[in-house]
């Protein structure tokens, strides 16, 4: 009926389409006009009233007073985003958040305020929230808000973790091990053979602790892995050194000590709590190791127990995560861990939300899995163009965004549901009083005291020793000397006081190598040099005197007897 009537009134049709898009017929009179026009009734009075509304809006738009956006049709759901341009309340079902959300806005654009606005709403619905703050300690002030909702919000600093990445309780240890080794390989940026060594070491440690038999209640930790690599002979030297250097630096840090647990917090248990992870003061590597292994463990657990399309149970947000997400960029052409998580999160009922200042550095696979995108006040033309194009904005909308977005005003677009147009909304500014200090934050950790943990106390005084220290004279035990060095030492002890060149011939090594060994032994107190002019000209001969450490070392080499 409409088409037959409107074909004859195409200018009026265009006006009606414009009016509907801009919400000009939402009031009582507007709905009546829309209905009358739909029934094909068209006279001068009706046309005039329709045109008057449309012309008025078009004039305002021409002067830039009306944003080129449609009125939002998102009016159903538990999560309130804010109010639209026409003061309509914009809502979205919480379940839609499981498909991933990205908020991009420059500093001071209102990202944290937006997160503080929606996180309590999600918690009130029954789901838990994990909010990771990379630099600030602002979100901890939500703790009283959560308490009013009847939920506890734990504030967890990076050095307060009780965690063991190798702990695989409730999960298949084979799959868990591959995941951890893969993450360690990426985080530590190890050479190719080092990954195999790590995997080999973890397998050996799991066997030693009886993990493969399923009998073990305790697990090896990363300190065990470090010690295994350090004490196992015959490993590729370059890969071994790379692991020791990088893993050692990781473990030697203050936050690294929190991983000295045989039984650490199980991420599966941890997801029963709402937690703010304050990750300031730690390196990006620690952030990645803690957060990514934690998230992977949860997803692995959910999929192993066969969860598909679960309702929202956990909302995970990364605040100020620009560097965290950018540092995940790999040069090896692999998909980044966070992008991988974003791809698999939906079915497990976990919502992933990232907040960043710019889209620069955010991988395309990750953007593809952020179904709900929100743009705030950005700083570069590139960001507006890229994100605007991803959100389906036209040129006029992008220009409007560049010139009109303010702090607290956002443009959103969601690819779930039938209506996918970008929409503008304002988030109310929250004045949350500052009441949670460090002491209150530390007290909030008591909620996690009930989780089972077992500390690896043997690593309480652990220190990373540089490899060069093995050259020191050992106080006791067999000296850590190579076979050639021992042969050289033995020949000096058996033939003391001979010119140094003789020992090179006796041991069967080159003069250059003999000089290196001799210098090393002299420096470490095994031998003493004496020089004598045995020729008319040229350099003096060097005679070697074995000292007590050398006699002792050779005696032990011979089974305690005399050399």
């Amino acid at each position: 009926m409409k088409s037959q009537t409107h074909n004859n009134h195409s200018p009026l049709l265009a006006d009606m389409v414009y009016g509907v898009k801009h919400g000009l017929f939402e009031d009582d009179l507007g709905r009546s006009l829309h209905q009358v026009w739909s029934l094909g009734v068209s006279d001068e009075l009706i046309d005039g009233m329709i045109k008057a509304r449309v012309r008025s809006c078009q004039v305002q738009e021409a002067f830039g007073h009306v944003p080129p956006f449609q009125k939002s049709h998102l009016d159903n759901g538990e999560v309130v985003w804010g109010k639209g341009l026409w003061n309509e309340v914009i809502r979205q079902p919480a379940q839609d958040l499981c498909s991933g959300m990205g908020v991009f806005s420059g500093t001071g654009g209102g990202k944290s305020n937006l997160l503080s606005f929606i996180a309590p709403q999600i918690a009130a619905r029954g789901a838990n929230v994990w909010l990771a703050e990379m630099y600030k300690t602002q979100l901890r002030q939500l703790r009283p808000v959560f308490q009013r909702l009847g939920k506890d919000l734990v504030v967890l600093r990076a050095d307060g973790w009780k965690y063991n990445p190798l702990y695989a309780e409730c999960r298949d240890p084979h799959v868990h091990l591959l995941m951890v080794v893969d993450l360690l390989d990426r985080i530590l940026d190890l050479p190719l053979r080092a990954r195999s060594i790590l995997l080999q070491g973890c397998h050996e440690l799991y066997r030693k602790f009886g993990v493969w038999d399923g009998k073990s209640k305790t697990f090896p930790c990363l300190f065990d892995l470090f010690e295994w690599v350090r004490s196992t002979p015959g490993l590729n030297p370059q890969s071994r050194d790379a692991i020791l250097d990088r893993l050692g630096a990781l473990l030697a840090s203050r936050a690294g000590r929190c991983m000295a647990y045989r039984v650490g917090w199980n991420p599966v248990d941890l997801q029963r709590f709402s937690v703010i992870f304050e990750m300031r003061d730690v390196s990006e590597q620690i952030k990645q190791l803690l957060l990514e292994t934690c998230l992977y463990s949860i997803f692995q657990y959910e999929y192993q127990r066969g969860v598909v399309n679960a309702p929202l149970s956990l909302f995970i947000a990364f605040e100020d995560s620009q560097r965290f997400l950018s540092s995940n960029q790999q040069t090896k052409g692999e998909i980044t861990p966070i992008a991988e998580l974003a791809a698999v999160e939906r079915g497990s009922g976990k919502a992933l939300c990232i907040l960043g200042q710019t889209t620069h550095g955010i991988s395309r696979p990750l953007m593809a899995n952020l179904t709900t995108k929100i743009m705030g006040r950005l700083g570069t033309h590139e960001d507006y163009q890229t994100l605007g194009a991803d959100m389906g904005m036209d040129a006029a909308q992008i220009v409007w965004a560049m010139k009109n977005l303010k702090a607290g005003t956002f443009i959103g677009q969601t690819s779930i549901g039938n209506w996918r147009e970008p929409f503008v909304f304002r988030v109310p500014h929250l004045n949350i009083p500052v009441t949670v200090d460090d002491q209150a934050a530390a007290e909030s950790l008591k909620a996690l005291d009930g989780l089972p943990t077992e500390r690896a106390s043997e690593f309480d005084h652990w220190e990373m020793r540089p490899i060069v220290e093995v050259r020191e004279v050992p106080a006791s035990g067999v000296p850590p000397l190579s076979e050639v060095e021992l042969r050289y030492l033995k020949s000096v002890v058996q033939n003391p006081g001979k010119p140094s060149g003789l020992y090179a011939r006796l041991v069967g090594i080159s003069g250059k190598r003999a000089v290196e060994i001799r210098t090393q032994f002299v420096a470490s107190g095994y031998l003493r040099e004496h020089k004598a002019a045995t020729g008319k000209r040229g350099r003096h001969s060097i005679f070697l005197e074995p000292l007590p450490p050398a006699l002792e070392a050779v005696a032990k080499l011979n089974g305690g007897g005399l050399p």
Binding site: P496, G497, R528, H530, K531, A532, A533, T534, G535, K536, H540, F543, E545
Partner: protein
């Protein structure tokens, strides 16, 4: 009597071996009475008409005693040093000391000392 490793295990034995190989009568740590005290000469070498008191020195501190011991034995004093620097230091020290006119003194580093002994014991 207490000697360092280089002195007692390297230099003295090698000099002794050379002399023995040439048929000389060599005594290590040969006793000699000096001013009522028993002293010892590192090597006392007798070869045909030669009597040589050989002392191995790494520094110039004990040169005075070496002169006394060689004088008591009425032997030629051969002071052997590891290198030329020590030999020069001992020569400088020797110039400051009073010594019997009939005492013949050779201050040589290791290689020239071996050469000198070789020339004597043809």
């Amino acid at each position: 009597m207490s000697q360092g490793f280089f002195h007692g295990h390297v230099l003295v034995p090698s000099l002794e071996r050379v002399c023995l190989s040439r048929g000389a009568d060599v005594r290590r740590e040969h006793p000699v009475r000096v001013d009522g005290h028993i002293r010892f000469v590192d090597l006392y070498i007798r070869y045909r008409g030669w009597r040589i008191a050989c002392e191995v020195e790494n520094c110039a501190n004990r040169v005075r005693h070496d002169i006394a011991k060689a004088s008591a034995l009425q032997a030629t004093l051969l002071i052997v040093t590891p290198d030329g620097t020590t030999a020069r230091a001992i020569r400088r020290k020797m110039r400051t000391l009073k010594k019997p006119k009939e005492l013949q003194i050779w201050i040589l580093s290791y290689c020239p000392a071996l050469q000198r002994l070789g020339e004597i014991m043809i």
